[in-house]
């Protein structure tokens, strides 16, 4: 579904711009290549500053790459104009990290979920909104609530409902459980897993938490400072991590187990 080749992204560093001439560039993504096949659940893991969120936003073309190429369903979208991207957007959706920022505070939940449907010109919107609410396990009455009236886990479910309402082929989930307590985290992850199975979704799941990734994903990309240091099937990666950084990362995780060797 996705083919990413030598993907590069850099920003000019205005704070170090010389008086004349171009500013030096900060490289965020330094030549990433990977594929996402249809039906895969891909985990993208890395520490802060690894470029994992930037990668996600570039895949959805919220950012334009400075080098390399992205192919989605056989079509090169690397430098596609927004007008040309618009019809394709129905196939690629995103769930954001912070629902307080990604859910418009002045809209009711029903309106938030209906937004993308309306933009993409769907009919029978109310029925589809209700269906989406049912699928994420929220009561239908929540359609008339504002985001600030919901709990963190409920808000994140609204974000999921908005993404699946269009029935996209691909969904990108960017750190969607990092702000949640363990109990809501478990609920949201189980929900996501169910939806992937039911709707036959392809999912890219960005996270810093190896334990969560292991539970959900079948392939993993490990990012470190804008480069892929390891790319493997989940079972293989945990059985025999190849990269030095992956090993450090795994060793550092404190498991809820007093007998874990952690030194």
């Amino acid at each position: 579904m996705y083919q990413v080749r030598d993907l590069r992204l850099s920003f000019p560093d205005m704070t170090r711009k010389p008086l004349f001439g171009a500013a030096p560039r900060i490289e965020i993504l330094r030549g990433l290549s990977f594929d996402v096949s249809k039906g895969a659940v891909l985990g993208i893991v890395g520490g802060s500053g690894s470029g994992k969120s930037t990668l996600g936003r570039t895949m959805l073309r919220l950012l334009e790459p400075t080098g390399g190429s992205i192919t989605f369903n056989g079509r090169d979208i690397t430098h596609l104009e927004e007008d040309a991207l618009r019809p394709m957007r129905a196939q690629m959706q995103m769930i954001f990290q912070d629902p307080m920022s990604s859910l418009n505070p002045r809209r009711q939940v029903g309106g938030i979920i209906a937004g993308p449907l309306r933009v993409q010109g769907h009919d029978g919107i109310p029925a589809k909104v209700t269906e989406a609410l049912d699928m994420v396990g929220l009561p239908r009455s929540f359609a008339n609530r504002y985001p600030h009236e919901l709990s963190g886990g409920q808000r994140q479910r609204v974000g999921i409902a908005r993404a699946i309402a269009l029935r996209p082929e691909f969904i990108l989930a960017d750190e969607i459980v990092s702000g949640l307590d363990v109990s809501s985290q478990a609920q949201v992850l189980n929900l996501l897993q169910e939806l992937v199975r039911e709707l036959g979704l392809t999912l890219a799941f960005i996270s810093h938490d190896m334990s969560v990734i292991r539970r959900l994903c079948d392939q993993i990309i490990v990012l470190y400072q804008g480069e892929i240091v390891e790319q493997a099937q989940t079972a293989d990666l945990f059985a025999a991590p190849q990269a030095e950084y992956t090993r450090t990362l795994l060793d550092a995780i404190p498991l809820p187990d007093p007998d874990q060797v952690w030194a």
Binding site: T15, R16, K17, P18, L19
Partner: protein, 336 residues
């Protein structure tokens, strides 16, 4: 390197802004219907007289030519000659400038003292009725512009309880032989307390009228900034070290809370200086603004141009100074 670059960029930007101001003012005042020259001449002056004067002031040329002539003069420090007062604009303006600057600076000082005190008091007693009272009074002070405060002050302290002068800059009877027009500062330096008292008696009311809205803004912004800073972990940490509320507010929170307030206060200070125009008129204070209104009424084109450009220059300099101060006070930028 970055600092130097920033300064150069700022200076360039300032130059563009000033140029824009000059262009706009030039175009606007030349759309004036009515002939400023005709007003200068006694009734019965001939067409030839008018034409001769027009040529003298350059009004017979196109706007573009007039602008180029004016610009060439400005570069050499020549702002032209006032039509109504028949003196060089530069000397007229520079004579009045000290009065306006003194008024603005005194007003700023008053605003900082009142606003700062209210912000600190409000923070010390946050979430109590005292803070509520401060919020209500700053809210009111903020809603009413300086012009109305001036009128209220005239009524209260000029008429009902006449303790201050409500007109002029200095009592005409007073004997002063100062070398500069910065009367207030010179009186301070020469220790002429009689003059000083008289100046303050005249200046206090217009300065207070200008200061009230600004003090309310300072109080609100600084208090909000202080309250946000009080929630930061380093302040909590300082509390657990055993420091009391007073120390925590003034020593830990204040230095960092001032920074965001500073930039906004800079802009507001330029508004204050802009406000001197009408306040000087209201209190018959012989400053730049009062002269500017006369210049407009008399259609004195060269003088209007000169005054507006001077105001624009002062405003941009104030903003520049505030930015510099921001860098000096902020270690993050100082050591960048």
């Amino acid at each position: 390197m970055t600092l130097l670059r920033n300064i150069l960029m700022r200076l360039l930007s300032t130059a563009i802004t000033l140029f824009g101001v000059a262009v706009i003012i030039f175009v606007v005042i030349r759309v004036v219907p009515g002939n400023p020259i005709a007003m200068m001449l006694p009734p019965g002056a001939t067409e030839a007289d008018i034409a001769r004067l027009q040529a003298q002031y350059g009004f017979d040329k196109s706007i573009f030519e007039q602008f180029m002539i004016w610009l060439r003069g400005v570069v050499q420090g020549d702002f032209g000659t006032s039509i109504s007062l028949r003196q060089p604009v530069s000397s007229l303006v520079l004579n009045r400038l000290p009065a306006t600057l003194e008024l603005s600076i005194v007003a700023l000082l008053i605003a900082v003292v009142i606003g700062g005190t209210m912000a600190l008091t409000g923070t010390r007693w946050r979430n109590t009725r005292k803070e509520g009272a401060i919020d209500v009074s700053t809210g009111m002070a903020l809603s009413i512009p300086d012009f109305l405060w001036g009128l209220v002050l005239i009524l209260l302290f000029g008429v009902l309880w006449p303790v201050f002068h409500i007109s002029g800059r200095i009592s005409p009877a007073l004997d002063i032989d100062f070398t500069t027009n910065f009367y207030l500062f010179e009186a301070l330096l020469r220790l002429r307390f009689d003059v000083l008292g008289d100046l303050i008696g005249h200046m206090f009311m217009p300065a207070l009228a200008l200061a009230i809205p600004l003090s309310a803004i300072i109080a609100q912004l600084l208090k909000q900034s202080l309250k946000e800073t009080m929630h930061l972990d380093y302040v909590t940490l300082s509390r657990t070290h055993g420091y009391g509320e007073h120390h925590v507010i003034t020593r830990d929170a204040l230095p960092n809370a001032i920074l965001p307030t500073l930039t906004l206060v800079g802009v507001q200070f330029t508004f204050l200086i802009g406000g001197t125009v009408i306040i000087e008129r209201l209190f018959s204070y012989e400053g730049l603004g009062n002269m500017a209104i006369d210049a407009v009424i008399n259609r004195d084109l060269p003088l209007i141009q000169g005054i507006v450009i001077l105001f624009a220059l002062i405003f941009t300099l104030v903003n520049l100074a505030v930015d510099m101060l921001y860098v000096v006070l902020n270690p993050r930028l100082r050591h960048a």
